[in-house]
Structure formats: structure tokens, C-alpha cells
């Protein structure tokens, strides 16, 4: 324990800007970059609430980085990526351009948009990563993060798709689409709720209702359009206000986090939970938090899918090492490892068909947890993510019209 404290003290004082100059790196070959990266330390800020994900990163990933590249991975657990964006922003404002405290962020959505807009991301280097070839950049769901073009500013890590969980012992026949879900809510007062935005998951649920109110996603794709928004939003608030009295606690209050939603579901206070990462359902059952009879499903009119990424801030002093981390995360082995249900159960962000045969066999052999709806099943009805402007407008509108 003392040693780890000493390391930390040293780390914090020795914020040397070894590979802060991104432009210089871009002119190097991969081998040169790896050479630069050796012996470095990467401070990876990521949501730290899942012990399985933590174990994968601090165990498998960190061990391989140490063994193969002598890179020390310092996982920095956080509760909200927005805090990190804010931190980098503060650093920029204070003129810290080459000695930032963040080397890598697990990120997507509006946080990515914020970073990109404020020029906080290190961009244009992803082609240098050897495993970049495994990414299908032609897939719009990969090349756009919540509708914002990635443009070499971040590297995909996982793909996820929104799914609902229910206890099959209590609700044997859950509603299959948004319309019947709304009907179900009205027929079962107090048995449903959703986390209040800006909770990430609650916000995603809102977008499903919004798309439903719009009669489909088609008119919502592309840049923000105030006229379309106003018309759709009015219908959305009407629906949400209509179901509000039938929600948990009569809609007087909403859970503030998806954690509270999960807790309510675990204790049978409500009949549905939902998550952007269905693998979490299996983990909750394994942890004993949720009943064994938990099952999950997508809606027939579609659920939103997205990709999440890792990003290097513009002022990271360890860009080379961070790039090596990103490259390792993309590798077939690393993606396969985290796809195993007992490890994490996360869906890969790479094209499996481009990996070596033994990796492909590995993926084929994976049996998903019975509580987790298979990604392929969900993919049959997938909705695209809306651009961040829509998202912000929906969140603000909800606070003013529904959750007040």
C-alpha cells in the first residue's frame, strides 16, 4: 500500500510532457510510436462502477500492456464522463496545453461533441493504428458518434444497443413495441418509471418515446431542425405527461440514475429496467442482484444502438502510449476477451470477419447469458442515434415540460 502511494506521489509530480506533441507523432511510423510509448503511463478516465469491466481493464488489458510494451495503465474510475470533459476544458482555459492530466477517456455522445467542438480532442491519427484495419469506417453507426462525424478524433471500443429487462416470472408476456409498452404502463399503475435526464439511460429512453412520437426516425436524422422538433416534442410531452400518473410514485418523482432504476427493478418495485448495454443484465444476475428469471428484449419498432469510443485529449502528455492502448483494445484478442459473458459480455466494435480464423471461432463459440438478449436478435430492429443537438433539446424540454 505504501508503495502504491509512493508511485502515485511520483506520478503526480513527474508530469513530464514526453509525447505531448501530437503533430510530431503523426509523422512517425507505428514502430517509432511504440518505441516512444515504452515505459510510459496512461491515465485512462472511465466509468468505474462495474467490477467486471474494472477487472478486465485493470487485469487483462493492463497486464498485456505491461508485458508487451512496458506501459503502466492507470485506470481512473469516474462517475460521469462530463466531469472529465470539464477538466480538460478547464486545463485548456488555464493554458495547460502539453501537461494535461487525462490521457484517455471512455466517451461518446454529447461529451464527444463537446470535446470536438472545443478542440479538446487529439484528431487525425487513427489511421496510424495497425488495428484500424479491423474497423469498418464505412458503417455510419461507427463513423458517426450520435450523428457527429468521428473524423479520426476517437477510436471505437464497443457497440451497444438499447434493451429492456423484465422478470419472466412476473411478466411472462412483456409488451413488444412502444405503443403497447405505453398501454401496459397505463394498465399497471406504479410499475414503470425511467431515470430523469441528464441520466444517460433515462435520456435514451426519452429518445425512444420521441422517435415513436415522430412516427419513426427518418425525419429526425441529420442536423437539428427546430420546426420538426417543436411538433414532435409537443406530442412527446403529451405522451409522457399522460403516463406520468401511472408511473412509480405517481410520477411525483423520478429516479436520478439508472442505478436507482436497477435497484427498483431488483426489489420488484417496478417491472422493467433498461440499459444501453444489455450485458449489464447478465452481470446483475451473476452478482445475485437480479432474479435468475430475468430476461431481456428489444422493441419490434426498434431500439437505439450506438458505439462508444476511446479518445485522447489534445493536451495528453502520453499520446504515444495512449495510442498503443487504443490499438491493443481494438485487437481481436482483446475484443474477444471482453465479449465473453463471464468477463464483460460487450459486443465488439470491429468487423469480426476481418480477424484471424481462431478469433472468429472464439466469437462463434460465445454463448450469451440467458438473461441477455443476443446482439444479433437486437440488431434486427435497430434505430440510429440522434445528433447531440436533438438530445440536448429533448433533455431541456423534458425538464421544462414533464419533470418539473
Amino acid at each position: 500500500m505504501l508503495r502504491s502511494l509512493a508511485t502515485l506521489l511520483l506520478l503526480s509530480t513527474a508530469a513530464s510532457a514526453e509525447t505531448a506533441d501530437g503533430e510530431a507523432l503523426k509523422r512517425m511510423t507505428w514502430d517509432q510510436i511504440v518505441e516512444q510509448a515504452r515505459g510510459g503511463t496512461v491515465n485512462w478516465f472511465m466509468w468505474g462502477g462495474s467490477d467486471t469491466i474494472n477487472a478486465y481493464v485493470s487485469g487483462y488489458v493492463a497486464d498485456r500492456l505491461k508485458a508487451d510494451y512496458d506501459i503502466t495503465l492507470n485506470r481512473v474510475p469516474i462517475s460521469d464522463a462530463a466531469d472529465v470533459v470539464n477538466q480538460v476544458l478547464s486545463e485548456k482555459e488555464a493554458g495547460v496545453t502539453d501537461a494535461g492530466s487525462v490521457d484517455l477517456i471512455w466517451i461518446n455522445g454529447e461529451n464527444f461533441r463537446s470535446m470536438k467542438q472545443a478542440d479538446l480532442a487529439f484528431c487525425g491519427y487513427t489511421g496510424l493504428l495497425p488495428n484500424d484495419s479491423l474497423i469498418n469506417w464505412d458503417n455510419p453507426a461507427i463513423a458517426n458518434d450520435f450523428g457527429v462525424p468521428v473524423e479520426g478524433c476517437e477510436v471505437p471500443w464497443n457497440t451497444v444497443q438499447f434493451a429492456f429487462a423484465h422478470d419472466s416470472a412476473k411478466v411472462p408476456a412483456p409488451p413488444q413495441d412502444m405503443a403497447s409498452l405505453i398501454a401496459w404502463i397505463k394498465a399497471h399503475p406504479g410499475r414503470f418509471t425511467y431515470p430523469a435526464p441528464p441520466d444517460f439511460t433515462g435520456s435514451a429512453f426519452l429518445r425512444h418515446v420521441f422517435i415513436h412520437a415522430a412516427g419513426g426516425p427518418d425525419r429526425l436524422l441529420g442536423p437539428f431542425d427546430p420546426a420538426t422538433f417543436d411538433a414532435t416534442a409537443a406530442r412527446t410531452w403529451a405522451i409522457l405527461n399522460e403516463i406520468e400518473p401511472f408511473l412509480w410514485r405517481g410520477g411525483a418523482t423520478y429516479p436520478t440514475t439508472v442505478t436507482q432504476l436497477n435497484e427498483l427493478f431488483a426489489n420488484g418495485e417496478i417491472d422493467f429496467s433498461f440499459n444501453y448495454d444489455p450485458a449489464q443484465f447478465g452481470l446483475a444476475v451473476q452478482a445475485g442482484t437480479w432474479p435468475e428469471t430475468t430476461r431481456s428484449f428489444g422493441l419490434t419498432d426498434g431500439t437505439i444502438g450506438n458505439t462508444n469510443y476511446t479518445l485522447i485529449p489534445f493536451n495528453s502528455p502520453n499520446k504515444a502510449a495512449a495510442m498503443v492502448v487504443q490499438n491493443l483494445l481494438l485487437s481481436g484478442e482483446a475484443q474477444l476477451e471482453k465479449a465473453k459473458p463471464e468477463v464483460w459480455g460487450a459486443a465488439p466494435a470491429i468487423e469480426i470477419s476481418r480477424t484471424p480464423p481462431e478469433i472468429q471461432e472464439g466469437f462463434a463459440a460465445i454463448k450469451t447469458h440467458p438473461s441477455v438478449v443476443p446482439a444479433a436478435e437486437l440488431a434486427k430492429a435497430a434505430l440510429p442515434e440522434l445528433q447531440a443537438d436533438w438530445l440536448i433539446a429533448i433533455e431541456k424540454g423534458w425538464a421544462a415540460n414533464v419533470g418539473n
Binding site: 462530463a82 470539464n86 430523469a196 429516479p255 436520478t256 427498483l264
Partner: protein, 287 residues
């Protein structure tokens, strides 16, 4: 070395640290609340952030909520602590154990207590389960709403739990210094037990009680992590609202966060002024 130099030297490190950290932090917060941000090209201070904050209904509701939390917690904790201190002043079997529990509680961080309270009194918490076992409720929804509730009952409960020992210990120390003789005199002068408490003991411990209560009020008003764990989605406690505004990636809301911080600081300073007046500090130099 003259006494003046000696005193100056003795005080210098503490004043340097506090001026360097505390006053600078406060000063910069104030400066930025006036939207003075040369780094971003804003060099004309204005009151826009205050205007935005004070006209937002959310802010006023949050301010009211935080004031309510602090007031209720302080009053309840102070009254109970007074009773606890009077109890612990006596000798009875088990007193040592309770005195230990009171001290132990002082060492428990707020966030641990907040999580404990959450597991205890939420609608699916231990009490709800007991109620279910006793046949009083059949589902969590029937249990009273004590956490994440609009009246902040869970938050107040936590503060009472956590601050009761703090005030109790200060009162006990106070009572120890005072002894029991003043009450004995009052009784022998014909005061009933209640009168001796009301007219003698209470006025004598009041300065200590008031200071401790002011500290508790300041803490309950400005703490961030407790309402984060136990608070409802709306309205948010003021510190949570301020933090959210600060971490908002929209730079405009940062000035608003600073303005909210200044409002919180003003409440704290008002408390300090009250305490200083009560203790006759500040005005009197030599004491």
C-alpha cells in the same frame, strides 16, 4: 525579538496558507461570478450570471430546499443532542458503550452514513422489509417515501444522525466544564427540575450550542455528497445544482456556477458574522 514580531512569525504560516488557498479561491470564484474571464476574452465584469441564476426558478427552489434541509437538520439535531448530552452526563449501566458509539459516529464519513440511511429507510430498505414481514405493507410502494423525496427527509435524517453526536460531544465538554453545581444552587433556591434547566443550564450552554449548530447548519447547507446520494431529481440541493452547472460543458453556465457558489459563501459568511457577534469576536481585539 519583540512580542509583535514573535506573534507575527507564529501566525504567518497559518495566515499564508489560508490567505493563499482560501481567500484566493474565494476571490477567484467571486471574480468569475462577474464573468471576468480574461482567458476567454471577457474583461468587462457584469452581473449577467447573477441575473441568470436569480431568475431561474430552479435556483430559487434549490436555495429554498437547501435552507430547509439545513434548518430542519440543525434544529432537530440540536434538540436531540441536548437531550443526549443531558442523558450521557449521568451515570448508568451502558453509558460507556453509548459514549463510544457517539464518538465512533463522529469518525464515520458522511457518504458512508448516507448510503447506510439509504439502505435502511428506502422503500425497499430494511425498515420496509420489516414492515412487510409484520404484514403492514404488501409492496415497497406502500412504504412511506423517505429517500429521494421532495421534502428531503432522508437527507435530514442523515444529518441528524451524523451531527447529533457532534453537537452532543461539544455540549458534553461544555457541561463537564460547568459542573452540576449551578443547577444544584437553582434547585435549592426553589427552581423545579425544569426551571433549573430552562433558566440556568440552557442559558449557560447556549453559546456552545449555538456555535455547534451554526457549524452544522453551514455544513448541511453546503455539503454536496449527501444530497447526491439521497436527494430527489428535482429540486436539487444548491451545491448539487452548482456542481452540475460547473461541470456543464457550456462555458456560460460556469459563471452561473460561480454565482451560486458566491450565494452559498454569503450564507456561510452571514453565519460566521452571527457567531462572531455571539462570541464578541472581531470587534474586540484583545480577548
Amino acid at each position: 525579538m519583540t512580542d509583535r514580531t514573535r506573534i507575527a512569525l507564529l501566525l504567518a504560516p497559518a495566515l499564508l496558507v489560508l490567505a493563499g488557498l482560501f481567500l484566493t479561491g474565494l476571490g477567484l470564484t467571486l471574480l468569475r461570478s462577474f464573468r471576468y474571464l480574461p482567458g476567454l476574452g471577457l474583461t468587462e465584469p457584469d452581473l449577467a450570471a447573477y441575473a441568470a441564476v436569480l431568475t431561474a426558478p430552479g435556483f430559487l427552489r434549490s436555495l429554498a430546499l437547501s435552507l430547509w434541509i439545513a434548518t430542519a437538520s440543525t434544529v432537530i439535531a440540536a434538540v436531540l443532542a441536548l437531550a443526549a448530552a443531558l442523558l450521557l452526563r449521568q451515570t448508568f449501566p451502558g453509558r460507556t458503550l453509548i459514549a463510544f458509539l457517539v464518538q465512533l459516529n463522529l469518525t464515520i464519513p458522511h457518504i458512508v452514513g448516507a448510503i447506510g440511511i439509504l439502505y435502511l429507510v428506502s422503500q425497499s430498505g430494511s425498515f420496509a422489509r420489516l414492515a412487510h414481514a409484520a404484514g403492514l405493507i404488501s409492496a415497497p410502494a406502500e412504504f412511506p417515501i423517505l429517500t429521494h423525496d421532495p421534502y428531503a427527509i432522508g437527507i435530514i435524517l442523515l444529518y441528524v444522525w451524523k451531527e447529533l453526536p457532534f453537537i452532543t460531544l461539544i455540549l458534553l465538554a461544555n457541561l463537564q466544564t460547568l459542573g452540576e453545581d449551578h443547577e444544584a444552587v437553582a434547585r435549592s433556591l426553589g427552581a423545579s427540575r425544569w426551571q433549573a434547566f430552562r433558566h440556568v443550564l440552557l442559558p449557560m450552554v447556549l453559546p456552545g450550542l449555538a456555535t455547534a449548530s451554526a457549524l452544522v447548519f453551514a455544513f448541511a447547507f453546503g455539503a454536496y455528497e449527501v444530497p447526491l446520494v439521497l436527494g430527489a431529481h428535482a429540486p436539487k440541493a444548491l451545491p448539487v445544482l452548482a456542481w452540475q452547472a460547473w461541470t456543464d460543458t457550456d462555458l456560460a453556465s460556469r459563471s452561473e456556477a460561480m454565482a451560486m457558489a458566491v450565494v452559498i459563501a454569503v450564507v456561510g459568511l452571514a453565519l460566521l458574522a452571527l457567531v462572531a457577534r455571539g462570541l464578541r469576536l472581531g470587534g474586540q481585539d484583545a480577548r
